[in-house]
């Protein structure tokens, strides 16, 4: 399993060799690739071995190892995305890339926890994007390598089957925690909100943000039954009637504005489990962390991958790094992975 920043020419060679690839890069580069065993999403921002960079000349490549038993590439639209977990192999991992602002993006973000087999099968991926100067003028896309065609509406998924002696493990690194401020509860689920209960009292949420002068570079953090889940604020200016988010807020959860972080990289490194940087086979981090923490040119040892418009570890996340590890299972005499017998 390797990750690298490669030229389109080098990627083309790997595709011709039949390698199974998960790619990230600028649309013009991805359009040059031939059909093969790959999926891709558009994004020009990356964390690399030499530091964070905007790169319009190279493609980030995650090459799946030879022990992978099978792959299946499928596109999902708004109607079929609820099947994404059901379609996954019994033992494997599925890579998903969704174009930002597409209907399937909204649908997945709001409804994934209700999909059949949610979280039972590992699903990891990201939301594709564009260069920040092209937001609004160019649509983020994903590519189905089977046909080498792009889409700005559908999600693309590579379902990967692993041998029985290996198992996928997904984790996250989220440096943000709830601050000591007000409790914020939203009356309904959605990518935007005009009202919220602030410490139990209904208020205009945009006015609340402006009056409190909250730093909108910091996310709202929900305590999702023990897991800190971020929702990043997209727009909260005077011209908007409501506040827009990069991921949905969910009704009934108690959010708080995140505690400020003085030094992103130090905090991030302090949260890395020992040795993780050598175990990650795929990871991506959020473009907002890249921007707000000035990661361009800065290196986080061992951590590479696209800087994305949203991260997926079973469900959509914001301002979070998600990662995949593959674990070797020991051989046990007389034991298989059947869950059918009890101890």
């Amino acid at each position: 399993m390797t990750q690298a920043m490669l030229s389109p020419h080098a990627v083309r060679d790997k595709i011709k060799q039949g390698q199974k690839l998960v790619l990230a890069g600028d649309e013009e580069l991805l359009r040059q690739l031939p059909a093969g065993n790959w999926i891709a999403g558009t994004i020009p921002y990356f964390m690399t071995e030499t530091g964070g960079q905007c790169n319009l000349e190279k493609i980030h490549v995650t090459e799946l190892p030879d022990f992978v038993q099978a792959i299946e590439i499928r596109s999902y639209d708004e109607a079929t995305i609820p099947l994404v977990y059901s379609d996954a192999p019994d033992n494997g991992v599925s890579f998903i890339i969704i174009p930002a602002k597409s209907p399937v993006h909204s649908s997945f973000a709001l409804n994934a926890p209700n999909y059949e087999h949610f979280a039972v099968r590992p699903l990891i991926g990201w939301i594709s994007g564009v260069h920040l100067e092209e937001i609004g003028s160019k649509a983020p896309k994903v590519f189905n390598g089977s046909s080498a065609e792009g889409s700005e509406t559908d999600a693309i998924v590579m379902h990967v089957t692993l041998p029985k002696e290996k198992i996928a493990d997904i984790g996250i690194i989220n440096i943000f925690v709830q601050g000591d401020g007000d409790s914020i509860v939203f009356p309904c689920d959605g990518f935007s909100a005009d009202q919220a209960y602030i410490n139990g009292e209904l208020a205009n949420f945009r006015n609340y943000l402006l009056e409190k002068r909250l730093d909108t570079r910091l996310p709202l953090v929900a305590d999702y039954y023990g897991v800190s889940i971020n929702t990043s604020i997209r727009e909260a200016d005077q011209s908007q009637e409501k506040v827009e988010f990069y991921a949905p807020v969910f009704s009934g959860l108690s959010y708080k504005h995140a505690r400020p972080v003085a030094d992103y990289i130090s905090k991030f490194i302090s949260q890395l489990p020992v040795g993780l940087e050598h175990q990650i086979v795929f990871s991506c981090n959020c473009i907002l962390n890249y921007l707000h923490s000035n990661l361009e040119g800065k290196r986080i040892p061992g951590i590479t991958g696209p800087a994305t418009f949203g991260e997926i570890a079973y469900l959509l996340l914001n301002q979070t790094m998600v990662y995949l590890r593959i674990i070797d299972l020991p051989v046990r005499r007389g034991a298989d992975r059947s869950p059918e017998f009890s101890a």
């Binding site: 030229s7 999702y224 039954y225 023990g226 009934g252 070797d328 869950p339």
Partner: protein
Amino acid sequence: MTGSNHGKKENLTKTFDTIQKSPEPVIRLSREVEPVWHDIIAGKVNIEFEFFAARILQGTLARNFQKNPSAENLAKCAWELSDLFRQNADLPSVCRDLKKILG
């Protein structure tokens, strides 16, 4: 870990090995759902899971149960959470979590 092969291979390439599972004793769950799973969903037992998928699913199911606190829904949610552990019994984090749950 089976030794880290990481390093520069070609053009900033980083290579990883899979990691070796520590020899944790694997607990195989029966298909019968023990009462503790109901208690976890209902919030009567609080366990901070190490297995990330379990933390996410527990949150989703607890939220689901709050919206529909029927006995039937509790049984369904408890089954879903226990089934996640059943299907991932080999993961080291699951082994450690099951020790916390089942003692």
